[in-house]
Each structure stands twice: as structure tokens, then as C-alpha cells.
Amino acid sequence: MTKYFLLSLICFIILNFKVSSQSLTEIEKRYDNLKSKIANDNQVLDSLKNILESRGKQIESEKQKQNPDDDKIIKLMSGSVSLSNMIDDHREKLDANTKNLRQLSGVLKNKYSAKIDSLTFLNRSSKENSEKLESEILFFTEKRLLVSPQIEMLSFNPKKILEIDLSKAKNSDERASLNEYLTRALTEVNSVLSDVTKQAKETNDALTLQKKTSKFLAETEFDRDFRLGNISRSSTERNDVNAALGGEDKRSIADQINSYVLLLDQLNIFDKSEGINSQRFIYKPGETNLSLKDYSELLKEVKQKLSDYKLVLANKIEQSK
């Protein structure tokens, strides 16, 4: 029986080695290729859809004629069937590639985060090259923001704000007004970030308590699964977001969660196919379910996005001085 485990372990090590040995440049190249492939496929898909639509119109107009040409209609319809099949095939490939792109963006995000962490550590431990290290941190933070999913909880358009270039201001008045606009945006981001941080802490505290309780039970009862009189899962293992955030009524919990999902989408500045699927966090009490863990993940994602955005925004304001 142990041979199955040994075999699995060998597969695990080989695959793990294969993924971890890829360099950042290689993954970025794969990511860019896949992204442009998806863009091309989207164009092809759009053209195919347009052709199909025009065929549909042709069929309709032929049918409405007083003496419709049946042979022409049949020819058009059979062409439409093969077009429709082609669209399905393309959509299938596109979905698979989009899924791969999402996974790759996850890998890149982790690698950028690791780079940012090590650069931040270096920056804290040594004062040498501080300026260079800070610019590298900013470089990787912008890269992380590019590969992460994007927030409509903000009153401004985050993408437009990032496009503001103070060096291109025509005069000092324009520069001052742009600077004020950026400062107001930063204040708003700080305020939302503070709310999200508070909510994330409360959720994490509840999750940590739940996790530690489960761990205490597992170590106290090594043979727990086989206490056959008590074979079912412990109730401490289950807890949906409703029970854990029960201090508020369900409607306001749902509104709060869904506004964070919108915020995440709003900060999804670039292609919406990238990064995590924010739609999985959409919460309708009584219809869909969301675990405390999912909610914690959503808050973590929103917090990270806002922090990255804040850093880039603060840097823009700093440069304008």
C-alpha cells in the first residue's frame, strides 16, 4: 500500500520542481503570449459572431421576400450551423486560455509579492541603495497591480487617475488642480482602506479562532474520525459568513459583501479576464452561499488592491512636489 504513496510523492516532487524552476521572465513571456492570444481569439470570435449575425439577417430578409429562394436559405442555414460550431470551438478554447491566464496571473502575483517582500526586507535591514530599492519596490508593485484583478465603490475612475501625468501639465494652475484631484483620491482610498482593514481583522479573528478550535480538537482526538458514535463533522468546522457576521441583518451583510465585489471590479483596472474571479463572491442570502473563508479572501484581495493603488497614488503626489 505504501508504494502508491511513494509514487504520488515522486510525481509531486517532479511537478513541483518543474513549476518552481521556471524563471519570472519565462512566466511573464508566457503570460504576455497568452494575453495577446486571448485578445486575438476575442477578435476572431467577435468577427465570427458578426458573420453569423449577418447570415441570420440575410436568412430573415430572404424569408420575407415574396418568392424566397429555398436553396439559398438552405445554403445560408447550413453555413450558419458550421459557423455556430466554429464559434463554440473558439469559445471553448478561449475559456480554457482565460482559465490558464488566470492561473498564470496568480503565479506572477505570488512571484511579484515575494520580490516585494524581499526588497522591503532588504530596504529595512540596510540603508544602502535605499532609493534604488524603493524604485524597484514600486516597479514590482505596479506590475502586481497589472496582473491582479481590478474597485465601483470609489467615486473616481481608478484607471483614469493612474493615467494622470503631472509632468505634462500645461501650467502651474493645471498642475495644482491635478495635484488636488490626486490628493482627494488618496484621502478616499485611505478611508476605504481603513474600513476594509477593520473588517478584515474581525473576519480573520473569527477564522483564527475557528481554525485553532479545530486544531485543538484534532490533536486532542487523534482517533476522532473513528469514534464511530460521533462520526459526523464537528459543527465548529462549519460556519458561513451569515453566522459569523450575525451582528448585522442579512440584507446589510449582503450589501456590504457585494459592494466589496464591486470595489474589486473597479480596481480591476485592466483586462477583466485576469486575476481572481470576483463573481464567485457575489452573495445572495438564501440563494447562494459564501463561507467565512471566502469572505476573508475577498477582503484580503480588496485590501491588497487598495494598498497597491495607494502606494502608486502617493508616489505620483510625491513626484509632483
Binding site: 503565479v107 458514535g229 453566522a243 452561499n289
Partner: protein, 344 residues
């Protein structure tokens, strides 16, 4: 055969989830603890001695948008005293897969375990495995339903040689009675078969006992700054060797709190009480009474201090009283242990 199949299935889960390592997480932790134990009613170990225990855990977790899977391996060596001691070694492996759908979550879980016990006079071991399929339905507004269907098998060597097969169904409906609460009401039913090879080898009497356990269950959970959980189950027991009314009660109380950021305290208390009336009061029949291993009354408490994210020291104390198939035997004890945990 069944145990090998369990390990093969676990290996398969491991291979299937390996290629998707980008969403995977590997966690490990090692616990070592030592202290005193005091027991009475057993000839297996000394009544008072030192106890040393170590725990090694390795888990591999994978999660994507709506799917999660994990493989966990555990090992626990234990030493009761250093001279003429009792030693035990326990292995456990488990794998699970969960899928989240729009209004339903479903999952499959498999666990295999092998325990070895040894002292200077005897040694025995037991194996067990459990396969369960569970689902959480969120179809009914405000009242999620949980269902679990499973099969479990337990076999023991040496003088015990009692095999236990069972098939069970566990149903519960939940409701939030007040903020931060989760309360459940349900029904548990189980079909079991006990096969005692010791009886078939050395006596001419019947060596099997088939029966059912069924009854209501309630649960209450509260989580805010502290966690409190209470579960109660009342099961009627019918089998070939027991007569009506035979029944059992089981109550569990769990409480936990994290305070001052780094300190935490947890309590677990189990009370199990059974009233079985035998059809014929022969000692042979007592060997066929439903009696899974590790079915005990107990109280455990743990006070822990987290020095940093990967290092913790703790103090544990526990009391237990085993329920043997022959209730004339009485085995109980307590222990006090000091330990450390290192984790990634």
C-alpha cells in the same frame, strides 16, 4: 483489501491535484509534549509514570475558484514511561475533495489509520478507514441542510479481534436563532455489523452481531470573540444481543477564546452514557456489544502562548474514563503535559 483501497484512493487524489500546484499550499507542524500521567484499572501500563508524545503533521492543500482538495499525513509516537514502558505509534492519512456549486457544496472524504501498541508482554494493532460523501444544501432560504452518507470499517488484532463495519446517514437542518449563532436539528441512523473472530475461534457461540442505532440530534454554536459549541445525540440501540429499551446519550461541550493576541484557551468535554440490556446475560455476549475504540468520557483543557507565528508553547491537562464492552472493567486516568509546537 479495504485498507489498501483506501491508500490507493488517497494516492490518486494526491496525483490528481499535483499538477495544479500554483494554487497549492504545503503546511507542516511538529508538536512535542511531556509530563505525568496517572491511571487506574489497567494492567497494560504502570499506574503512575512519565508520558512523552510527539506529533508530526504534513498537509497539502489545493484550492481554486470553486474547488478545494487536500491530503494530510499524521504520525504520533507515544511513550508511557521509560523503563518497561508502553509504546504506541499511530499513522493517519486522509484526503478530501470539495466542490462549491451555486446553491450546494458537496465533497468526498477518505481517511485511513493504523495504530500499533506494544509493551514487554504484548502488542496489538488496529486499522480503520472511513469513506464519506457530504453535501450542504442552501436551497431553502435561511435553513441550510447538511447531509452525510458514509461507510466505516475498523479491525483490531490480538485478543480483541473485533471487526466493525458500519454504514451511516447523518442529516441536519440549521438555523440562526440570534446573531453569531448556528443551531442545528437532525437525525442520525446507522447500520452496523460486529464480527468477533476471537469468539469464532475459541467458542461455539455466535460470533456476529448486527444492529441499528438511530435517533435525534441537536447542536448549538456561537462564535464571536469566543467560540462555544454544544452537541447532543440520543440514539436508540437495537441489535441481536440487546433488548428494548437499549439506548445511549452523548453530549459534547467545546469552548475556546483567544485573548491578549497571543494567549488562547480551549476546553473539550465529552459525556457518553449507555444503557444496554442484554437478551442473555452471558459473558460471551458482552464481546459482541457495540463498542468502538476510543469511546470515552473525557475533559481536556489547553492553555497556549504563541511566541511568534511559527512557535508556540502550551500546557495541557486531561481526564479520561474508557467505556469497555464489559462494564465491570474500569480504566481511567489523568495527565498534565507541557509542550512546544513548531510550524511553517
Amino acid at each position: 483489501m479495504r485498507i489498501s483501497a483506501a491508500y490507493a484512493f488517497l494516492g490518486l487524489i494526491f496525483v490528481i491535484i499535483s499538477p495544479s500546484l500554483i494554487n497549492a499550499q504545503v503546511n507542516w507542524n511538529i508538536n512535542t509534549e511531556g509530563g505525568f500521567f496517572n491511571s487506574k484499572g489497567s494492567n497494560f501500563s504502570k499506574p503512575r509514570d512519565l508520558l512523552f508524545r510527539a506529533d508530526g503533521n504534513l498537509s497539502y492543500l489545493y484550492s481554486a475558484d470553486d474547488v478545494s482538495a487536500s491530503v494530510k499525513l499524521k504520525v504520533r509516537p507515544e511513550f508511557y514511561g521509560f523503563k518497561d514502558n508502553v509504546r504506541s505509534l499511530k499513522f493517519k492519512a486522509s484526503g478530501d475533495f470539495y466542490q462549491k456549486e451555486k446553491s450546494m457544496n458537496w465533497g468526498i472524504k477518505l481517511t485511513g489509520q493504523k495504530n500499533f501498541y506494544q509493551n514487554n508482554n504484548t502488542d496489538f494493532n488496529y486499522s480503520a478507514f472511513l469513506l464519506s460523501v457530504n453535501s450542504d444544501l442552501h436551497e431553502f432560504r435561511d435553513n441550510p441542510i447538511s447531509a452525510q452518507l458514509g461507510y466505516a470499517y475498523q479491525t483490531a488484532s490480538e485478543n480483541i479481534e473485533q471487526n466493525l463495519d458500519l454504514l451511516f446517514l447523518d442529516l441536519k437542518i440549521f438555523r440562526m436563532l440570534f446573531p453569531n449563532n448556528h443551531s442545528g436539528l437532525g437525525f442520525y441512523i446507522e447500520r452496523f455489523t460486529i464480527d468477533n473472530k476471537y469468539l469464532s475461534k475459541f467458542t461455539n457461540s455466535t460470533s456476529t452481531n448486527k444492529g441499528m442505532r438511530y435517533g435525534p440530534q441537536v447542536s448549538f454554536d456561537y462564535i464571536e470573540n469566543e467560540i462555544v459549541s454544544i452537541e447532543y445525540r440520543f440514539l436508540l440501540h437495537s441489535s441481536q444481543v440487546t433488548q428494548y429499551p437499549s439506548y445511549e446519550h452523548w453530549i459534547r461541550f467545546i469552548a475556546g477564546k483567544i485573548f491578549s493576541e497571543r494567549w488562547s484557551i480551549f476546553l473539550l468535554a465529552d459525556y457518553y452514557n449507555r444503557r444496554f440490556t442484554l437478551k442473555e446475560d452471558h459473558s460471551v455476549e458482552t464481546f459482541l456489544i457495540y463498542n468502538p475504540l476510543d469511546n470515552e468520557n473525557k475533559v481536556n483543557i489547553k492553555l497556549a502562548y504563541e511566541i511568534n507565528n511559527s512557535f508556540e508553547v502550551f500546557l495541557k491537562s486531561g481526564y479520561f474514563k474508557e467505556n469497555f464492552f464489559d462494564q465491570k472493567f474500569n480504566f481511567e486516568g489523568w495527565n498534565m503535559l507541557l509542550g512546544i509546537e513548531i510550524r511553517n
